[in-house]
């Protein structure tokens, strides 16, 4: 069975852009914006689940990065640092919208494990083709939105955006074991929920 590797971008060219931006070259900063605005928007939408909030997060995260570039330590990747800023902005907006609930990355660590597989029916060989694009998008959006924010954020950074486990831990200020444990539970919960839509359909003549 094949494994899944995240996409990793070369760092050195990026570091050069960051250094130019630090020296006041706005074109270099604009290049960084163009490089990562789509990612920041996706992450912000996943966390806030709200388009206007996501737009604000994109603007505020880049502005904050711009204003604090001097603080950026070059041991980590610029993108990881930017994601950390964006996640904090997004969580702040989520809290504002849901003042009745405490929203933090720690809220959903329960002792009982609700992620253990219960439904183990096999899926159709090409699950994406069972639905049209709009239906599939709706299913995937609703399913990932059903995860608690702490799981959702880890899943999105690690599996959708392709950050490494260590980078995800750094961006979220979590330990590596905490990221791994949340990622496993997020993946298993999503799998379980998607099984409802993607499992093999039994046809009338008894063939699967």
């Amino acid at each position: 069975m094949s494994t899944i590797q995240p996409n990793v971008q070369p760092v050195s060219e990026e570091l050069e852009l960051v250094r130019r931006a630090k020296r006041g070259d706005d074109q270099a900063f604009e290049e960084l914006v163009r490089r990562y605005d789509r990612n920041v928007f996706r992450i912000a939408q996943h966390i806030t689940q709200n388009r206007e909030d996501a737009e604000d997060v994109v603007q505020d995260a880049f502005l904050k990065a711009y204003g604090n570039l001097a603080q950026f330590q070059e041991q980590s990747k610029f993108y990881t640092w930017l994601v950390r800023i964006a996640v904090n902005e997004a969580l702040m907006r989520l809290r504002r919208r849901r003042p009745e609930r405490t929203v933090s990355l720690d809220e959903d660590v329960k002792t009982e494990d609700d992620s253990l597989p219960r439904e183990v029916a096999d899926w159709s060989p090409n699950p994406e083709q069972m639905y049209n694009q709009a239906e599939l998008r709706e299913i995937l959006t609703r399913t990932v939105q059903g995860l608690p924010p702490g799981f959702r954020t880890v899943f999105v950074l690690r599996d959708v955006e392709g950050l490494s486990t260590e980078e995800t831990a750094e961006a979220l200020d979590l330990s590596v074991p905490a990221v791994k444990s949340r990622l496993l539970r997020a993946r298993l919960q999503l799998r379980e929920r998607l099984s409802r839509y993607f499992q093999k359909r039994v046809t009338g003549d008894g063939n699967k």
Binding site: M1, T3, I4, Q5, E30, V33, D37, E55, G67
Partner: protein
Amino acid sequence: MKCTEFLDELTNYLDGALDDRTKSELEDHLAWCHNCYVVCDTTRKTIEIYRNSELYELPDDLRGRLQSAIMTKCAQHKHKKPE
């Protein structure tokens, strides 16, 4: 390897982060345990489907507006800074 041990290693397995010995123990388990095989296979598909899903793509017109708003605000921020 028991099913619970398999689950503990599932994320490392899918991420290609296992040493050869644990990987081979896990694959032995998958060879005879159908439930774990299905869980592993459908979890891998879950990740792939989300990775390919293009949820929340930023539309070009909105992207252009956001980029110019960001750069305008950055310029204002620069001018506010004391020399």
